[in-house]
């Protein structure tokens, strides 16, 4: 009997060895942790339960029959983050370079199905060399099986991918279909085709990092939602993110006790909006001063900085915050910011996370670059996302809410539940100058003085929140310093909000 028990331990030991000491040392030398070490950091101590530790590949071609490593290049299982269940798979670069075999894929698919059934997030840690070429089409089939599960799980359980090593070719599409992608700087990179192919096909010479490094995706392409300095930072931040999210769309996001008084006034917010309407200010200051304990998990902080997205809490209740950022491009809506915010809004709506929107938007970005890029359809994504969202929606207009962008930013007309404006708000079709130049086109040419008077008149008439408030488009004009108190109260009234969209197979958002 003892021998049989010892055999289990021996096999476990062997599986934990992964690709062996030499490869583990190589992994460390690159500044990376191993698959199991990453899980150790990610999960609560001693909470990890590994599944399919003994799975091996079934390939017999190209001498593969002699090369079998239990686990087959991916560690799968579940554990807890601050007590809450999560499913994890972690690619093991030390085993066949983490490449994907049929067996490897089935382990992930099994995990995805369990997560979907049990209503818990899936976290994928990527560090792998792509398909197991020796297996041919079986490997491709494996990819597709995973993709399908990604799609089925989308909107049901949160899916998070962390790119901590290479992630290329077929490997990129599974993360691409998850809710969030985070990357580790210098070690993580992702692209559809690597530098060698790029060079052969287009003669373009480019490094891994320039083609698909963390900075590229977090700042330029927007593929990644954040980039971190090392494995520990990335995994610690995933733990922080999970604390904001429900296990599935069947749950509400977890409420935690707040150490921050719900009635806290912030007198300094009364001077946040500068007296000069063309001077920018930092919208993040407002966010940090309104949410609990200034604790704000920003999503895509480096991409499309003209809009800020992220998670915070109001009296312990998680909310998704969307805010125009006057510091970047005056907070204008353009292709990138519309895409970024639309995706975030849809995530929140899918997972019952109320939306708090701060508006200071001068309109949509003009120009051929934007129009040729399809601003119409990209801008429509954000409009669509806000309109279809049925979670509680609270909006505060701090300054400009001009034109179509006013409509888009969670306006009353798109079923905003509680819409507030600061006294500094200007809700209008456009700025006063532009408006009078159109209305009084004739005067504009002949009499600049009269035009200035018209501009002042227009400003007096429309550069305030009261015209909108008179029509009920704004529920109340509030003092900036009381913003936290007012939005928390509003959120409480929406606790049992029920709103359903008409039945449909699915909508047809302008992709």
């Amino acid at each position: 009997m003892q021998n049989i028990l010892e055999e289990l331990e021996r096999r476990r030991q062997s599986a934990r060895q992964g690709g062996g000491e030499r490869r583990i040392a190589a992994q460390h030398a690159k500044g990376k942790l191993t698959a199991r070490e990453r899980i150790e950091v990610l999960l609560d101590e001693r909470s990890f339960e590994e599944t399919d530790m003994f799975v091996e590949h079934r390939c017999v071609d190209f001498g593969m029959a002699d090369q079998k490593v239990p686990g087959d290049g991916v560690v799968t299982g579940h554990g807890t983050i601050n007590g809450r269940l999560v499913y994890v798979f972690s690619k093991d670069f030390t085993v066949f370079g983490g490449s994907l075999s049929g067996a490897h894929a089935s382990k992930i698919v099994k995990l995805q199905k369990m997560a979907l059934q049990n209503g818990a997030p899936i976290i994928g840690l990527f560090d792998a060399g792509g398909a197991r070429i020796q297996e041919g089409v079986e490997s491709l089939a494996g990819y597709a099986d995973i993709f399908l599960q990604n799609v089925l799980a989308s909107g049901v359980v949160p899916q998070i991918s962390v790119i901590m090593g290479p992630c290329a070719g077929g490997d990129v599409y599974s993360p691409a279909m998850t809710d969030f992608i985070f990357m580790v700087k210098d070690t993580g990179y992702m692209y559809v085709t690597g530098p060698e192919v790029v060079r052969t096909v287009t003669n373009e010479v480019v490094t891994h990092d320039e083609l698909g490094g963390a900075r590229v995706h977090a700042q330029k392409s927007g593929v990644a939602d954040g980039a971190f300095d090392n494995d520990l930072e990335a995994l610690t931040q995933i733990r922080r993110l999970i604390d904001f999210l429900p296990g599935s769309n069947r749950d509400r996001p977890p409420v935690r006790e707040s150490y921050d008084h719900p009635d806290r006034d912030e007198p300094s917010l009364d001077t946040l909006v500068p007296s000069n309407p063309n001077k920018p200010y930092d919208m993040k200051e407002l966010i940090l001063k309104v949410v609990d304990e200034a604790d704000f998990f920003e999503v895509s902080p480096e991409f499309a900085k003209n809009i800020v997205t992220g998670f915070g809490r109001l009296d312990g209740q998680p909310v998704g915050v969307v805010a125009n950022q006057p510091l970047a491009l005056a907070g204008v809506l353009d292709i990138d910011s519309s895409r970024k915010a639309a995706r975030f809004v849809r995530f929140c709506d899918a997972f019952n996370i109320p939306l708090l929107t701060f508006v200071d938007v001068p309109g949509f970005m003009p120009g051929t670059k934007q129009e040729y890029g399809g601003l119409i359809k990209h801008g429509a994504k954000l409009l669509f996302a806000y309109a279809e969202a049925t979670v509680p929606k609270i909006t505060v207009i701090t300054r400009k809410a001009y034109g179509g962008a006013y409509d888009v930013m969670s306006s009353k007309h798109l079923r905003g539940d509680v819409n507030y404006a600061w006294p500094t708000a200007e809700i209008a079709v456009m700025g006063a100058k532009g408006a009078v130049e159109i209305i009084f086109r004739a005067e504009a040419k002949s009499d600049p003085e009269a035009l200035a008077a018209r501009e002042a008149e227009y400003k007096e008439r429309f550069a305030n929140p009261f015209v909108a408030a008179q029509r009920g488009y704004i529920d109340d004009v509030i003092m900036p310093h009381g913003t936290r108190r007012r939005v928390i109260r509003a959120l409480r009234t929406l606790k049992n909000k029920q709103l359903h969209n008409p039945w449909k197979k699915h909508d047809n958002i302008p992709l």
């Binding site: 460390h28 500044g31 942790l33 070490e37 150790e40 950091v41 609560d44 101590e45 807890t80 983050i81 601050n82 007590g83 809450r84 700087k185 210098d186 971190f228 300095d229 090392n230 494995d231 520990l232 930072e233 610690t236 931040q237 604390d243 977890p254 409420v255 935690r256 006790e257 150490y259 921050d260 007198p267 300094s268 917010l269 009364d270 001077t271 946040l272 007296s275 920018p280 200010y281 930092d282 200051e285 609990d292 304990e293 200034a294 604790d295 510091l327 970047a328 491009l329």
Partner: protein
């Protein structure tokens, strides 16, 4: 007494004057520029009068506007504060002509002391010691050596027209004097076209000591002892104290007597300051007299118990001084630290902007393990106010009082810990560093102190063993509070682990944590001792962590990092992580990410708008050439190349906004 006075100034000094006026039952009128419409001073004053656009030349410096405001409001007197019109004899005369009382000295005294040459003449006649020197023209090198010998070495040989470090030589011997004369003469001729030379005594390692005087309109003058203001940066006072650690009673008496003699000689009838340069040997020489209230006057108030603004108002009203010299005594020691909107970590570059957080220490009496102390904070701003480019970038004057110099320094250290500012760069960590320096504490200071002690600039100090313990305890406490709550929210049980490892800037130590009723006991098994953290009321979200570590009261500034905390105590800041032993082992394996090599990059020193990028890819650029122009706070900042190079890439284009540290141009 006056029933209403007008304050022809702004900011903290305006607030300070209003406070005294209120106490005396005098109504106040505050004039203000567009930039100050919502300022604290305007809010506090009984009446306000708008006087123009932000630039001082179009508002606070316009005598007409001030006089008009006086007329409009019926104020009887004007307090000019310091700067602006405070030392403008014409303005004082104008008020006199208009029968408005100027709360300051009479115009003749201002005029006499306003001119460097006349003031020296007055000083010499009043028996005030002036720097020995020869003002006449010097014929040749021999003549120079002879005069230098008479004055006594070391001497400074200076071109009359000299300035900016040019045309100046210090000589320690006859040979050097001869040589220096020739060199300076040649340099002066070349640089200024004026080769007149003079020689004066050179004071090595000079100190700045000044005497506060106070006079009335009845011919009485007393002195309120000295202040030392040797801690200066680019001739800007940063730390001041009273009394001076240099002076003994005899020197103090001598300096005081000379200052009073000078004040009497010019018929001085208000608060004023006679500035001296002093040698380490306690020799002292007259520099100039400031005919106004001095920025650093609070330290004098703290050691004498007098209110100088009140005294100025009383004298201006015609009251006699209510005391004589013999009634005045020094009580204790006072320090002042000027808190500026400047970034000490970036060569003290101005860092104006919004005070996102402004939480000064509580004023009044405090107790600490080193004794009782008093905190006073003179400021004109509140949280959410803007430190504007139009005026002096001073945020506050933090003053402390203790029974001895040591206690005053310790109090300043403590008060600085409690000063929390966010949103712009500020010099609190720098001031803290000075308070903790042995040389400063020993009193062996000079005007070259900052240049000598921080030759490479300021980069913070390494944490001391006490600070390492403090950071350990603070991080452990914060981590426990946060994790325990997260676990409650997630339905997990309490934290059971005792053994942790704490990493302070990647140096790890083992700790065992025990929760006690008063706080935490943290055992350090590797060192065979433990530390005790008590009285911490810290809650997540608070930027200041207050507590008592092993009996010592402290405040640390804390913020979250991606994987731990950034903790600052005084001038030491570190990245602190609390990890399980297993994760600590893994962390130790991760390579330290060294900051990217920026020597090949031109980086935006501030957030702003790119006005122009003046180079293109492939262009050869020489050191000092303009690379880009960034507009920040309406100021165009020319960004120059710090080295030669060929442009490899250009980041932003004109019209983009850039963040601080954003790469503008990269060299190959």
């Amino acid at each position: 007494m006056f029933s209403k006075i007008l304050i022809a100034n702004r900011g903290e000094i305006a607030v300070r004057i209003i406070k005294t006026a209120r106490r005396l039952g005098i109504k106040t009128v505050q004039v203000y520029s567009e930039a100050d419409a919502d300022s604290l001073a305007v809010e506090m004053a009984d009446e306000k009068v708008f006087i123009g656009p932000p630039p001082a030349a179009q508002s606070y410096l316009l005598a007409d506007k001030i006089v008009e405001a006086v007329r409009q409001t019926g104020a009887e007197a004007v307090h000019p504060g310091f700067g602006f019109l405070s030392e403008n004899a014409g303005f004082a005369q104008r008020l006199a002509d208009e029968k408005i009382v100027f709360i300051g000295p009479n115009p003749h005294a201002i005029e006499a002391m306003g001119d460097k040459i006349t003031s020296k003449k007055f000083a010499a006649e009043a028996g005030v010691s002036t720097v020995p020197g020869y003002m006449g023209l010097i014929d040749d090198a021999e003549h120079a050596a002879r005069i230098a010998g008479e004055i006594g070495y070391p001497v400074m040989i200076k071109a009359s027209a000299g300035g900016g470090g040019k045309g100046i030589r210090v000589a320690w011997t006859d040979a050097e004097a001869r040589e220096g004369f020739g060199a300076v003469k040649a340099e002066a001729k070349g640089a200024f076209g004026d080769d007149r030379i003079f020689i004066e005594k050179f004071i090595t390692s000079p100190r700045h000591v000044e005497i506060q005087v106070l006079g009335d309109k009845h011919g009485n003058v007393v002195h309120l002892f000295e202040r030392e203001c040797s801690i200066q940066r680019r001739n800007q006072k940063v730390i001041e104290e009273a009394p001076s650690p240099l002076l003994d009673a005899k020197t103090r008496e001598a300096m005081g007597a000379q200052a009073v003699a000078l004040a009497k000689a010019v018929g001085y009838d208000s608060a004023g300051t006679v500035e001296f340069v002093a040698g380490q040997d306690k020799s002292f020489y007259f520099l100039e007299m400031n005919t106004r209230l001095q920025v650093e006057h609070p330290v004098t108030e703290l050691i004498t118990g007098l209110d100088l603004v009140e005294q100025m108002i009383r004298s201006a009203y015609g009251e006699k001084l209510a005391f004589e010299q013999k009634d005045l005594k020094i009580k204790g020691w006072a320090m002042e630290g000027r808190i500026y909107a400047e970034d000490p970590y970036r060569k003290f570059l101005p860092s104006i902007g919004r005070l996102v957080r402004y939480d000064p220490p509580k004023e009044g009496e405090h107790q600490a393990e080193f004794g009782d102390y008093v905190v006073r904070n003179d400021t004109g701003v509140r949280e959410g106010d803007e430190i504007s480019m139009f005026y002096d970038p001073m945020i506050a004057k933090l003053c402390t009082w203790g029974e001895t110099r040591e206690k005053a320094i310790d109090s300043m250290g403590r008060a600085l810990e409690d000063f929390h500012i966010e949103g712009l760069g500020q010099n609190v960590p720098f001031l803290s560093a000075v308070m903790d320096q042995e040389r400063f504490r020993s009193g062996k200071i000079s005007t070259a102190y900052i240049a000598e002690e921080f030759p490479e600039g300021f980069h913070g100090l390494e944490p001391t063993p006490f600070q390492q313990d403090l950071m350990t305890a603070v991080a452990v406490c914060m981590q426990r509070t946060q994790v325990a709550r997260a676990r409650r929210a997630g339905g997990a049980g309490p934290i059971e682990r005792e053994a942790w490892r704490v990493s302070i800037d990647r140096v790890q130590r083992e700790v065992r944590v025990f929760v006690t009723e008063a706080g935490l006991d943290i055992e350090l098994p590797e060192e065979g001792r433990s530390v005790r953290l008590e009285s911490s009321q810290w809650r997540p979200g608070e930027a200041q962590f207050k507590g008592v570590l092993d009996g010592r009261v402290f405040t640390a500034t804390v913020r979250a990092g991606h994987d731990g905390f950034v903790i600052r105590h005084r001038a030491a800041e570190a990245h602190v992580l609390v990890l399980t032993p297993k994760v600590a082992e893994l962390y130790a394996r991760l390579p330290e990410k060294v900051a990217a090599d920026t020597s090949k990059m031109v980086i935006s020193p501030m957030p702003g708008l790119v006005v122009s990028i003046d180079v293109t890819v492939g262009q050869e650029v020489k050191e000092g050439e303009t690379v880009a122009v960034i507009e920040a706070m309406k100021m165009q900042n020319i960004i120059k190349a710090e080295r030669d190079g060929v442009v490899k890439s250009v980041g932003p284009t004109a019209g983009d906004s850039v963040a601080a540290d954003e790469v503008l141009v990269e060299f190959a």
